[in-house]
């Protein structure tokens, strides 16, 4: 047994047993963050807050939700929305947060792409982040099944049908995933399990990995400058706070984080109370009916770009393109052949590539919502081809890039 002294205070008692001072230094007051950042660097904290909102609102929904095909819709739209005190509030928070979290994820992701925060030692941050994107996507999809409305049922039908693999006709696999010939009780129950237990655990583990992968490379900065954290932190601790290039995570960075979070929450709660239809699609307020397909089926907005890549092509080619789209972003650190870790606007063609990719994703997103007819399907096809083209071209334009 290690040596213990009589404690001088409550703080000292915990310190001797849990090293709270050391933990506080390492995680908070001497976790050094560059000063040369902007508010986009706060998106990580915004995501943590949004995830916390999802978790807490989810807990209260879980108290009353019934994962049964006959009572699920009623448990949500009657029991939770009408009977449970503040049930409507948890449902609105949960639905709006599930949608807004993807807006923040995309902003966070594209911030990383713009500033090269996936390069040179930060590959694991990028990869763990992309795995988080996949986990959140699975969480969102499984969650959307639960109200068992028309969109829940038909989105479940369509997305699980993808696993038939076109000409592979892997119907057995589709039935295995569903646990039945069609989305029914088995399907609902297992996606409930995924949504409430398995994927949240995976997300929390991945968040841990994501944070851990950030420690050694340190947070990036607007100029991609390689900072000597030891020297700069010494400057800070010696009293030259203004001159140092770094600041403490707590309370320096955190106070700015909280400022961004505060402004974000104004926007967030405005949506929760006054403008939530985008997050709770009208079609899902019809109870699921396996014998009636809605006139328009579409996924939630954050999946539309992906959906649109699948649509314009014939079945097999579409599936290959779709699989390509899911995986390709993960490979970004390895497809980008340039050594430059600076903002995209200083990287010549890559700067153009960035904005082209962003605009293309928005075009794909909007075409994915529209009926695949006439000019919409033509634009969608061009946008899908552009997406593939941009990724093919990336290694070449970055290889050619001049060293900054």
């Amino acid at each position: 047994m290690a040596h213990f002294e009589k404690a001088t205070s409550i703080h000292d008692w915990f310190n001797q047993r849990l090293a709270v001072d050391a933990v506080n230094r390492v995680m908070m007051t001497e976790y050094w963050i560059p000063k040369n950042i902007n508010f986009l660097w706060a998106m990580g904290m915004v995501l943590v807050i949004t995830f916390a909102l999802l978790l807490v609102s989810g807990i209260f929904l879980l108290m009353y939700y019934q994962p049964n095909v006959d009572t699920a819709f009623y448990s949500v739209n009657y029991t939770i929305m009408r009977e449970v005190d503040f049930g409507w509030l948890w449902r609105h928070i949960h639905g709006v947060a599930a949608s807004v979290v993807f807006l923040i994820i995309y902003i966070h992701m594209f911030t990383g792409i713009y500033y090269g925060s996936y390069k040179k030692g930060r590959e694991m941050i990028w990869i763990s982040g992309m795995l988080l994107f996949v986990a959140f996507s699975a969480e969102a999809f499984s969650g959307y099944m639960l109200p068992w409305g028309q969109m829940s049922y038909w989105a479940g039908m369509v997305i699980t049908n993808l696993f038939a693999g076109g000409s592979l006709h892997a119907d057995g696999l589709v039935e295995w995933i569903r646990g039945d010939y069609v989305p029914a009780q088995a399907f609902l129950n297992r996606f409930f399990m995924l949504h409430v237990l398995l994927i949240p655990i995976a997300i929390m583990g991945l968040i841990g990995l994501h944070f851990a992968s950030l420690r050694i490379p340190h947070v990036n900065n607007q100029d991609g400058e390689e900072i000597d954290f030891d020297a700069e932190s010494k400057k800070y601790l010696n009293g030259d706070k203004a001159g140092s290039k770094v600041m403490r995570f707590a309370n320096d960075f955190m106070s700015k984080d909280m400022m961004v979070v505060g402004i974000y929450l104004i926007f967030f709660f405005y949506l929760v109370f006054y403008h939530y239809d985008f997050a709770m699609d009208a079609v899902n307020f019809d109870p699921a009916d396996g014998l009636k397909t809605p006139a328009h089926i579409y996924p939630e907005w954050y999946f539309l770009w992906s959906y649109e890549i699948l649509r314009p092509f014939s079945t097999n080619i579409g599936l290959i393109a779709f699989a390509f789209a899911q995986v390709i972003f993960v490979l970004l650190p390895f497809l980008d052949r340039s050594p430059n870790t600076v903002a995209a606007n200083r990287r010549g063609l890559f700067g153009i590539w960035f904005w082209a990719m962003l605009v293309d994703m928005i075009v794909l997103t909007s075409m994915g919502k529209l009926p695949p007819e006439g000019i919409f399907s033509s634009i969608g096809l061009i946008a899908a081809l552009t997406f593939i083209g941009l990724w093919i071209v990336l290694p070449f334009i970055t290889k050619m890039e001049k060293k900054v």
Partner: protein, 315 residues
């Protein structure tokens, strides 16, 4: 170092709003055609030209008009002679009680309905000569005098026995105008009335069977069972519902749902009741929303002030 944050914020906001616009208002405008209502003016129906006399109207309704041959009028002491599911099985459809028809339906509409039900209800497409089917309500061909005066008298009588607009609650408006065909489970409303509390399971099941029998007749009459409207305020939205109630054909061409002929005021009450069912906590949401917005703005202000204090030394 130039502060680029306003520009960055502008770029982020721009692309977010652009995406929102394309995915929501624009896409929905492409998927659903916009129907402009006419404020329940019923422009296709002739104007009312006569002033009715309620006493003469009563004689006609009870007598030559033959209304009471099929319709009960509780307010006049003439309750229904059959249970709803029996009436539905006999006539094909359950004729509504007329006690409050004068409060719920538009005057022009009632006038046109009495003379030509299928036309006023906008279901002539169902009762073409080829179909061989006739509308269950027989048209009034006159009692020997000026038919327009007679119809005006009958309408005046119906208005005289009905409740006033102040007494007509959203719930009543719904039950009278829609409730004969559309159940509303979340308000415990079946097509044959609110389901009572039964002590014994047997009695509860017996009631359920009556509802199912009624629904069978309704399905046979309409072609399919009219949907439960509990969540329609959220699945269809106010604008759709308003224009749909005014003229179902404008949204669903060829539908069997009749144009029910309510006034604009009654339509508003019906929609209010749909909101009571599918958006029950809306008033609480607005009240709490206001308080939360005030709080969160204060929260943000304090966060900004804290940040400014902390960063004073860092710049």
């Amino acid at each position: 170092m130039k502060n680029k944050e306003p520009l960055i914020l502008a770029v982020v906001v721009f692309f977010t709003l652009l995406t929102y616009y394309l995915v929501e208002p624009f896409a929905h405008s492409q998927m659903h055609k916009h129907v402009e209502g006419e404020g329940f003016a019923y422009k296709d129906l002739p104007e009312v030209t006569k002033t009715g006399d309620a006493t003469r109207g009563q004689d006609l309704v009870m007598g030559a008009g033959a209304c009471v041959g099929c319709h009960s009028i509780e307010a006049a002491g003439m309750p229904a002679s059959m249970e709803p599911q029996m009436a539905a099985a006999s006539y094909g459809v359950n004729p509504p009680d007329l006690s409050n028809a004068g409060a719920v339906y538009d005057e022009k509409f009632l006038t046109a309905l009495i003379k030509n039900p299928a036309h006023a209800l906008n279901v002539e497409h169902k009762y073409t000569p080829e179909s061989g089917k006739m509308h269950p309500m027989v048209a009034f061909y006159g009692a020997g005098g000026d038919i327009d005066q007679e119809v005006a008298d009958m309408v005046a009588y119906l208005k005289s026995i009905a409740v006033s607009q102040e007494e007509l609650t959203p719930k009543m408006a719904y039950e009278l105008a829609c409730g004969r065909c559309h159940a509303m489970g979340y308000e415990n409303w079946t097509q044959i009335g609110e389901k009572p509390k039964f002590k014994h399971e047997k009695d509860s099941l017996a009631f359920d069977i009556k509802v199912l029998e009624y629904q069978d007749s309704l399905k046979a009459y309409m072609g399919k069972l009219p949907p439960d409207l509990s969540m329609y305020i959220r699945s269809r939205g106010e604008h759709f519902l308003e224009t749909f109630i005014e003229d179902p054909q404008s949204h669903l061409e060829g539908t069997a749902m009749p144009r029910v002929g309510v006034t604009a005021e009654v339509a508003e009450k019906v929609i209010e009741h749909l909101a009571d069912s599918g958006d029950t906590k809306r008033h609480e949401r607005e009240a709490i929303g206001k308080n939360v917005m005030i709080y969160i703005i204060i929260f943000a202000i304090f966060a900004i002030l804290w940040k400014k204090q902390v960063w004073r030394d860092l710049h």
